[in-house]
Symmetry: C2
Subunit: 599 residues, 2 copies
Amino acid sequence: MAEQNPLISDDQINFLLHHVLDLESLFSQSYFQDHSWETSSLYIDAAKKLARTELFEAYKPMDNEPPKLSGDSLKVHPKMHQIYQSLAELGVIAATRPVEVGGAQLPSLAAVAAHIYLMAGNLSAYAYMGLTTGAARLIESFGAEDLQRTYMDRMYSGEWTGTMALTESQAGSSLADVSTKATPTEDGHYLLEGTKIFISGGDQDFTNNIVHLALARIEGAPAGIRGVSLFVVPKKRPQGDSLVDNDCTTTGVFHKVGWKGLPSIALTFGEKGDCHGYLVGEANKGIRYMFQMMNEARLMVGLNGVATSSVAYYESLIYAQERPQGRKVTQKDPSSPQLAIIEHADVKRMLMRQKAIVEGGMHLVFYCAQLNDLFEHGDDAAEQKNAGLLLDLLTPVAKTFPAEYGFEANALAVQIHGGYGYTKEYLPEAFLRDQKLNTLHEGTTGIQSLDLLGRKLMAGQGAAAMLYVSKAQETIEKAGSTAGCENLAKLFQEGLQTLQNTAMQLGQLGMTGEIEQMLMHSADFLQAFSLQTISWMLLEQAVCARRANAEGKLSEDFAQSKLLLARYFLNTELPRAQQLFALCTQGEDSYVQMKNEWF
Amino acid sequence: MAEQNPLISDDQINFLLHHVLDLESLFSQSYFQDHSWETSSLYIDAAKKLARTELFEAYKPMDNEPPKLSGDSLKVHPKMHQIYQSLAELGVIAATRPVEVGGAQLPSLAAVAAHIYLMAGNLSAYAYMGLTTGAARLIESFGAEDLQRTYMDRMYSGEWTGTMALTESQAGSSLADVSTKATPTEDGHYLLEGTKIFISGGDQDFTNNIVHLALARIEGAPAGIRGVSLFVVPKKRPQGDSLVDNDCTTTGVFHKVGWKGLPSIALTFGEKGDCHGYLVGEANKGIRYMFQMMNEARLMVGLNGVATSSVAYYESLIYAQERPQGRKVTQKDPSSPQLAIIEHADVKRMLMRQKAIVEGGMHLVFYCAQLNDLFEHGDDAAEQKNAGLLLDLLTPVAKTFPAEYGFEANALAVQIHGGYGYTKEYLPEAFLRDQKLNTLHEGTTGIQSLDLLGRKLMAGQGAAAMLYVSKAQETIEKAGSTAGCENLAKLFQEGLQTLQNTAMQLGQLGMTGEIEQMLMHSADFLQAFSLQTISWMLLEQAVCARRANAEGKLSEDFAQSKLLLARYFLNTELPRAQQLFALCTQGEDSYVQMKNEWF
């Protein structure tokens, strides 16, 4: 019988939380003082168990039978009804929210360690929860008391779900062009009119209401992002003791490539002129509010990228251990038994590459979660500020690396399955389809690269970049005095120096107003910066593993595997980073020179 | 109204045939003397027209409704019935076959220039033809007269289709492990018994017979590849004037990820003990026969990879020209109109990358077709031999580069479509699914890398490699004296030197018996060798374009675009090749050191 897919490695999670990121230290912050290893572990273990049973068992059925629209009523997969209850009872939606709003006030770092199992088991099922958290948080941060009581409370409790209704057909990457209309009424609410697309979880049949957080433009508002406001637009609005229809119509379902358990719909507000919307916070500040939540949304995408490549990695690892095919090139006896394909060097290479992408990406996203905890709830003001700076800088990388390299990892999982990988009888092709969304939603890779280079890197006269370098330098120093890591430290340091020089040169272009010149290779810069950052993560893991092993807290085997993993990635990818950094400053402008009609 | 997708660029085809590869020169070989520009163009134009209308129009319907099995009868998409007739009438199956067997005796170079349109328009539809050609060719080359008359003639005429029935569940990459049994009878035929899987086009309902070319083991044959024989196994066997059932049962249909118009089936021979097979050539030489046809099969995969990335490239180009979204980063007025996304530098980069992959890969596959023509039919014996050597060396690259980098190109086409790219309403996601098969069938990428490094590179004491270098040197010399290409020539030469040094060092490992050490980085070697080779192709194109422009035979714009394309690829990818070559010899053995249980 085939081994069961673990989705995520327990050893890796324990290693990150105990030996690398030190979850323990967060419990000494006053905000998290009621938490401990025990409370965190209880949550993580419960999530893990649910993920490996109910969620993962439903993954394939939900992939096979996406939600269906009949008339204007949408039905999701029947299994989602029970799954939603289980997830809501687990307390996923408000896990990190304050006790005072009904949450568990868990550190984000503990929450991501739990939620990554849920995502790996069934990303669509988890998505309903994550979307609800995100929508409710906007009300928590910016909404008035009555909105909080009427909507946020019911969302955090799991009674109603939430969505983000941002995109319109002419306004995807360019939210400045949102055109849904909001007309004020004398009763205080607004009447909304317009059509939103790609609304994930925008309709379902397992709760009796759905709350959309929608961007719209109040009549007479200025053009561009400074004229966009944020509204609560429920599917049904409370009226006395009952819920009445709020004129939000599901006008279409997109036939997505993956994430098949989660509907993506077109949603029309105000077909009958009776769609009430309730302003969140102040008028015309909608985009600003959204962006304050953006880091977390982007980290969730990164976490999803890691989860999706992890589940595929283990699927291909189990296959490689069990599938006999071929013999060593030096084995000339054709009647000798075939080997498990993991014995072939190239299959090992493909597994190693996946493992590096998964475990490097996981570390980065977890690190960002820890920074988020310190930024939002740290006791020390200076530490808090620095955490925020570094988090801002790392977010585009934590969003993009797991999505882009995760897609490559997912393709390798298919490849290891050979011809079988090209069939729907095996899971990797589904994970490959799922992964592709992560380079597109919550800001495409191109958008992330502009964010990194045009905004984050230069923020505060490069303060975040300097912080990055000094933190990385700490790893270099530790590595320099850790047996087996010395050469890797040197290699990494060279890369870090190139990163600094490149950032400096690009910064000068920016300061002299050569913005387009500066941003020309933004995609190359993001890729190089990502490779450098993941190298950092894997080097830090190798150092921590060696040290923990020296202290008798971790096995020699585990430490050795971490050292090999760092060696693989640094030797293979750091030279690529060097070369991509060089492209950013050497003025290679071939594609900019191309006239449109030459393509 | 949206522009029509051209599938393949006519300008690029004309450029390759006229100015780069010189199709003209083939007509002076006696074997091709009845052909000319006119006859070739007639065929190419007819194929192009069919591809852009009937074939491309049926692509999406065929992708949506794959073949269905009811009972043991398989029904393909209804549109295939007419399409098959059109393709058969065009003469696709026997286009390159000799006149004496009913073919048109066209040069392969002219045939690929026609067939690439067909593949780009509808890869599944073309595949029935390509498979039939391949199967019939085995009979043409190795079969006895009666097999040729009974089967080959009807296959070349299009009356019956053909398949390759090689794979079994325990014998995919390892054909040495084929176990289908063939028992001789007194009547001269064999009785076959066994199950084949992944038989493309293994069943259909548009011709009244199908001819399988199957590998099987004659009772008592030696173990391994030296005991495998090749058989003709028709679905129905001729008996007197009629066709009787030959006990070949379609026992399953694989649910493939792409190529949805083409069934891939499980086929059981001899369920009732009455499956007749007819030995092709001599017993126990089946694998040898197959391998003599392997180059062409692999080039067809490469051609398909190029076609599939080309059609997606044009889909994304048209979208980028028509889709307004966002403004220049320097444009601060939010009421200014949105730009077509092709105006964004990063979108141009994604288009440029696709274009380089498509046009570089196309050149390589076409070059191989020309080498094939010279190898099989050249008048000059020395030229013939050299063409064969170089063709052998380049085949794994021509098979793999379009598949692996084509997959990346296809992902970029999805990416350019943004959120829409993630829906089935647009075509790029389908092309992405189609492309993935090309890294798997006809030898996975891993197999190709072993073929290149373990067999082809070292063949004849490195004679093929030396030929490669001297041919590439010719391009360097031309480039050195072509305005705008001088620096690229230097860059390319450095890479070529590294390639030689690496090959030399790896060859020495091989000669001292360190085979596993030599092959440890075979995948990296294949990738580096591919990047070097595609750089060569793009540099050669830039040189030819500049020279043709100087002679007044080609527009300045076209020449300039080719120069930029070469500059983009050489500056971006040659440094990567350098670095991958270095990995091959520096003893980086991290993944080999990993114990199985450490993953």
